[in-house]
């Protein structure tokens, strides 16, 4: 059975464009503010939303997402808030997934986590620190609850391993554009296109590129070769730097509109 995310990528392929995927941590800027931000992102035209499970030790994240996670956790964000945000996104009419480090899943219960994703309308989970070697229990749970398993591949992933990792993926493959942590970059590494080309050789799955994209020009550039463009830190920065809530929400809607033009200009 195809998830909402599978259907989205079929649709954007038919439209000959890339999908725009936004990332926001649950509970940021506040529990309630996150729900408003999700609606503002949808109003700006994002195709899918990744709800981040804020974590105390985010080794893959740069300063912007670290600060957002810390702010969210200081307000007591927990698993129920993550699932509420997921439901908020799917209720707003977009595909949604959760992105989380592994330990919160293990603590919640592996099967229970997959079940809660499914029950709240989620399409799947991105697990940036779950290696395929450790993924057996997760594979079973995701399969049982019919959700997508999305793994990250990096420029350092060799061809043999790309084949192994992507064979475990569904929904899309998260292609990290560079070696490093999340955050906005002034330019997108030329390595991203090369990596996408290498991944294409081993899988027919949609490929979404993340790490560093923050503006329309970059979105257009990535949309030229990728099926999805993932933007996180740039949205979070808008919310974190806004003078008040209304201004922050307006800013992310505007940015989403710009980016959604970008993903339609790539080809």
């Amino acid at each position: 059975m195809a998830t909402s995310l599978d259907q989205l990528f079929a649709k954007v392929r038919a439209e000959n464009r890339a999908a725009l995927i936004a990332y926001i941590p649950a509970g940021f800027p506040s529990i309630e503010g996150c729900h408003k931000a999700i609606k503002a992102l949808v109003a700006g035209g994002v195709d899918a939303i990744e709800i981040g499970f804020p974590y105390s030790d985010p080794v893959m994240d740069g300063p912007i997402i670290q600060a957002a996670a810390e702010r969210s956790l200081s307000q007591g964000t927990g698993a129920s808030d993550v699932f509420a945000a997921l439901k908020c996104a799917t209720d707003a009419g977009v595909s949604a997934v959760v992105m989380t480090y592994w330990n919160p899943i293990e603590k919640y219960g592996v099967d229970e986590f997959a079940q809660s994703i499914s029950e709240n309308g989620g399409s799947g989970v991105i697990t940036p620190d779950l290696t395929i070697e450790e993924s057996e229990r997760w594979s079973e749970a995701a399969h049982a609850h019919k959700i997508n398993r999305i793994y990250v591949v990096a420029p350092s992933t060799n061809d043999g391993r790309l084949e192994k990792v992507t064979s475990q993926c569904s929904g899309f493959v998260y292609v990290a554009s560079l070696m490093g942590v999340t955050g906005t970059r002034t330019s997108i590494s030329s390595g991203a296109g090369d990596l996408v080309a290498r991944v294409r050789k081993v899988t027919d799955l949609p490929l979404a590129v993340g790490l560093g994209v923050s503006n329309r020009v970059q979105a257009k550039e990535v949309a030229h070769y990728a099926d999805g463009v993932i933007v996180g830190s740039a949205f979070i920065k808008c919310l974190a730097e806004a003078e008040d809530e209304a201004q922050g929400l307006e800013a992310i809607t505007e940015l989403a509109k710009e980016l959604s033009k970008g993903v339609r200009e790539g080809r």
Partner: protein, 398 residues
């Protein structure tokens, strides 16, 4: 006989493994291959042995603590003097091994995390010796607690980066080091200082420290004609403990006792006793015991000892605990500081506060077993770095 071997994926029963961003897999595989080939390479082993003989000061001696023993039920107390190693702790065993591996892999830069500063100093020392660039991440809170070691690292030519995220201690220093590594993995080796982290670190770091137990086993038998009744060591991440335990694991008559940092007392929640007070989970790339809340968020640890102030523990310890081969107890700050003062006054040896936890354990176990018992304690580090903390604790005017 219990034999502990990590498998290809570095598992110890349900613990260990690899939970890391895909970007690091290549580097971990490269490191695993380098370590495996070095283990079989007589030239590498000879080079490391030569360094230990001429630079570290190995073998480290065994000292019998007779006056201290009077306070430990009269049991014979044998101290394995890792504090006499160059740089003042057991940490040098691991850094020399990993620095040689760094050169073997053709990398020119090492990064390290440090809590008390002992590992940072050892890493900076090895880098100076072998001409490597060295960056040490250290929680801002720890740079204050251990300012002397910060100065030592700088004198040795390392760059010390204070980490201002999270709890600003060892856990956050590891996060920051891992971020650096993800970014610079092609040129950089992450010289992790304990038996935690993703495979191959828990196995590799143990292999570089197991010389402690191998030497001690011979020394104890030469001195007393038999194996000890118990081997004791403090446990933060657990490198000095695994180092002295490992060769005794098959000797089931020998009790292996790890002393964790109980802080204000495990019941207060302000402690760093991960096995005693934590639960299984994943932190910093490995599955082990973790101090965590109901959402799987790491809980901040507390200890007077910066080197034990860590909410995780090596996966091999988690396994040794679960199968009942080793036992783990919590020692409070107060108990550790009592032992710190006692060893100083009875033996003329100022131990590291980390090590004082093991000595407090020796007082307990000695009193339990009585005068016929023979206890081997890993005196893992010297206390010069802790003089300021101790002076403050005991109200000594500086």
């Amino acid at each position: 006989m219990t034999k502990i071997e990590s498998t290809i994926l570095g598992h110890f029963g349900p613990y260990g493994g690899r939970f890391v961003p895909e970007a690091l897999i290549g580097a971990l595989e490269e490191l695993e291959a380098a370590h495996n080939s070095a283990l079989k390479d007589p030239v590498f082993q000879a080079e490391l042995s030569h360094l230990h003989l001429t630079y570290t000061g190995r073998p480290s001696i065994l000292t019998e603590a007779k006056r201290f023993a009077e306070h430990a039920g009269g049991a014979r107390i044998l101290l394995k003097r890792e504090d006499l190693n160059h740089t003042g702790s057991h940490k040098i065993n691991n850094v020399l091994g990993q620095a040689l591996l760094t050169k073997r892999m053709g990398k020119k830069r090492i990064i390290a995390e440090t809590g008390a500063g002992q590992h940072g100093v050892a890493a900076a020392t090895a880098a100076a010796l072998m001409g490597l660039e060295c960056v040490v991440y250290m929680g801002e809170e720890d740079t204050r607690r251990q300012s002397l070691n910060v100065a030592r690292m700088k004198i040795l030519g390392a760059e010390v980066i204070p980490v201002t995220t999270g709890s600003r201690t060892l856990k956050d220093a590891i996060n920051e080091a891992m971020r650096d590594w993800v970014t610079n993995v092609e040129t950089t080796h992450y010289l992790l200082g304990t038996v935690a982290g993703p495979h191959p670190f828990p196995t590799m770091v143990r292999d570089f420290h197991k010389i402690i137990g191998e030497e001690a086993k011979i020394q104890v038998q030469e001195l007393v004609g038999r194996l000890p009744d118990a081997v004791l060591a403090c446990v933060g991440g657990g490198s000095n403990a695994i180092g002295i335990f490992h060769d005794f694991i098959p000797d089931t008559s020998v009790r292996l006792i790890g002393l964790e940092a109980g802080g204000d007392g495990v019941e207060t929640g302000r402690h760093a006793a991960t096995i005693t007070g934590g639960s299984p989970g994943v932190l910093h790339g490995t599955r082990s015991y973790v101090l965590q809340d109901k959402n799987g968020q790491t809980v901040e640890s507390h200890s007077i000892s910066a080197g034990l102030d860590y909410p995780g523990v090596g996966p091999e310890h988690a396994y040794l605990h679960d199968i009942g081969r080793a036992e783990y107890r919590a020692i409070t700050d107060a108990q550790a500081m009592h032992a710190f003062a006692l060893l100083s006054k009875t033996e003329g040896i100022i131990p590291a506060i980390e090590t004082a936890h093991a000595l407090a354990g020796a007082i307990q176990v000695g009193n339990e077993l009585g005068p016929d018992a023979i206890l081997l304690i890993n005196l893992s580090g010297r206390g010069d770095k802790d003089v300021e903390t101790a002076a403050k604790y005991f109200g000594i005017q500086l």
